[in-house]
Symmetry: C2
Subunit: 197 residues, 2 copies
DNA sequence: ACCTGAACACCGTTCAAGT
DNA sequence: ACCTGAACACCGTTCAAGT
């Protein structure tokens, strides 16, 4: 056990989040618990409650880090294509790849559900907004009104996410040898053809 | 407590599933437990394990019932339009409405996740297939090769689901006054315009 | 044969008591 | 002041023992 004063509040917080990330990576959301996180950083469970509101709060903080990582991952792979279709395909395939490679922490993004009626905190929504911003940037060359671009971004991104999650969670009742990339391509090509018509 | 022989295995099973459905409806997936289900039917926890493999099995059985209900709900609302676009809009809006009205049991459909590497059981996949069949039927008047229809159904349905779930779970970073119906309309209109071009 | 109920190994959360 | 550790009210799952 750590001694009193070994670590500041902020240090404990950071250590706990690091430990939580490592735990999720190997055990997934199901194998995740306050007691395991605490013992990984050599503190007692009680200590976690000095630093986080509760377990949901801890999960939300980890998810915040995941959104940042996802933003960086997508930014690094978006390419420089002027062509909106190529840019969207690059983003979507990067999203699919991230979900596959970091599957447990990506899943946790959706396992956490806000208390009924509560909104997600403002800092979390801002992180979400950054991700949607990448999609908007890809669509912007279509040069419509900004609101139309924002709406299309959300529709397309939600759709890409839907394809991704139904595949990973095996809810697709698969037909042919269809992979997520192929489905996303079909989505984007047809949507954009319609959108630009 | 029930006495020995009061109920057959099948009766206990049915009672447990009924009780589980009622419990999910009021408490949601989080407030759901084997002990609560057992006590609702006046049996001991142990008894549940004579009738179900484990709690995941029970959840999967409830989800099977939900898929049947969803199929009936969608069938009753699909309309008789020849027009694929109208038919798809009717189905999608019915899906959105179901998710809103039966929110906890609809959510549970996706809270359950198969053990890593395991497929969903064949009977469950068949129920899933029935739902996708409705979407295929709506697209069929486009009279392409059957495989193309099946692929488009999956792409569109996954997309509709994505819009639905990101809205309900508040992952949309909302812009304007956008409702799920409006987004789904944007999706379907543009996709079909592209698909038919 | 059928079901119980106690046991095991866990949970999240709180908070009086120690250092 | 900071952290502990025991307590509370729960979990899922198993299985010897009772009727």
């Amino acid at each position: 056990m750590a001694r009193r004063g070994d670590h500041s509040r902020e240090e404990i917080r950071r250590m706990a989040l690091d430990a939580a990330e490592a735990l999720v990576a190997v055990e997934g959301y199901k194998g995740f618990s306050a007691r395991k996180v605490a013992s990984a950083i050599h503190y007692t469970v009680g200590t976690l409650y000095l630093v986080f509101e509760n377990l949901d709060d801890l999960v939300l903080q980890v998810n915040g880090r995941t959104l940042d990582k996802l933003f960086d991952w997508l930014s690094a792979r978006r390419g420089e294509a002027e062509d909106p279709e190529a840019a969207l395909l690059a983003l979507s395939n990067a999203y699919i790849a991230y979900a596959a490679i970091e599957s447990p922490r990506w899943s946790m993004l959706f396992d956490y559900t806000a208390e009924k009626g509560d909104d997600l905190p403002e800092w979390y929504q801002r992180k979400l907004g950054r991700v949607f911003g990448l999609v908007e940037a890809a669509l912007r060359p279509l040069a419509r009104e900004e609101l139309e671009i924002q709406r299309a971004s959300r529709v397309l991104w939600a759709s890409v996410h839907g394809i991704c999650i139904l595949r990973i969670r095996q809810r697709m009742n698969p037909v042919g040898n269809q992979d997520a990339e192929g489905m996303v391509r079909m989505l984007i090509e047809n949507f954009l053809r319609g959108f630009c018509a």
